[in-house]
Symmetry: C2
Subunit: 142 residues, 2 copies
Amino acid sequence: MKTSESRFRKCMYFSSNALARKMEKLANESWQRVGLSPSHAYLLMIVIEEPGVQPGTLAGELQLKPSTITRLIEKLEEKKLVVRITEGKTTSVYATPKGRELTPQLKECLTNFYEGYSHVLGLEESSKLVANMNRLSDELPG
Amino acid sequence: MKTSESRFRKCMYFSSNALARKMEKLANESWQRVGLSPSHAYLLMIVIEEPGVQPGTLAGELQLKPSTITRLIEKLEEKKLVVRITEGKTTSVYATPKGRELTPQLKECLTNFYEGYSHVLGLEESSKLVANMNRLSDELPG
DNA sequence: TCTTAATATTTGTATATACAAATAAAATAA
DNA sequence: TTATTTTATTTGTATATACAAATATTAAGA
């Protein structure tokens, strides 16, 4: 059943969740060729661009909780794509050479991903949609 | 950090996920007084309105996978709010009297929930947002 | 300086959902 | 009628994320 046919077609709860799951799926497919989930891939991209970035900053940029960032970094560390250097209470994250080597593939995945959805609404409507989703997120409590 | 300040403010992946998590949180709070998660509550509301509805239909209406519906029903059954009657390969789900008694509270929760977010963008913009999210969901593969 | 409070990160656990395979029944084809 | 395919549901397992508490370190107040 399509969202537009469900009795909850007017409900933000279902629409936002359904869309997020669809985007998650599309993004997973887009980044499959580098063997990373979208969140791992985005985290790696930030770390490459911003060497030494701290988990707290990553949490802010990725809109995820610090505990989630810890788990993401752990996995990237297992794959030898990043390293963590802890000094005192702060931790700095760096991409390894192996991680940096993925840069071109990561960019391709990103392009693929955008192309996977932007044609549906068109670039302008997509931007507006994202802008309104952000506005709503930002003004909601929590 | 607000979504609008993140370097990924233009990315549908982050925006849709961030919004869905915010809505999940708001919805959780809204339905807390009946002791149900939003998905359990919505499922119960459908079952009350549509006695004997089948899991497959519920999956379509709620935009969730059949396996997820099974899990939701199991929990509502434990709480004695619904019962399942299986005949052959189909299963019919009915609300118990205890489940039906929740009707007025469930409606209040729903109202609370809508009021929790619709003022941010206003009713008209909210509707447009939902409509575009649905359109994108429906036209994306999967 | 010593104590308390604030900050950064991690760990243990929980939630919501999905995928893939298993089961079972009904429908169709041979 | 028997064999095969399709349909409906459930079960086992996995993923993405969060919350709350624990840990450790630095900063601030007495």
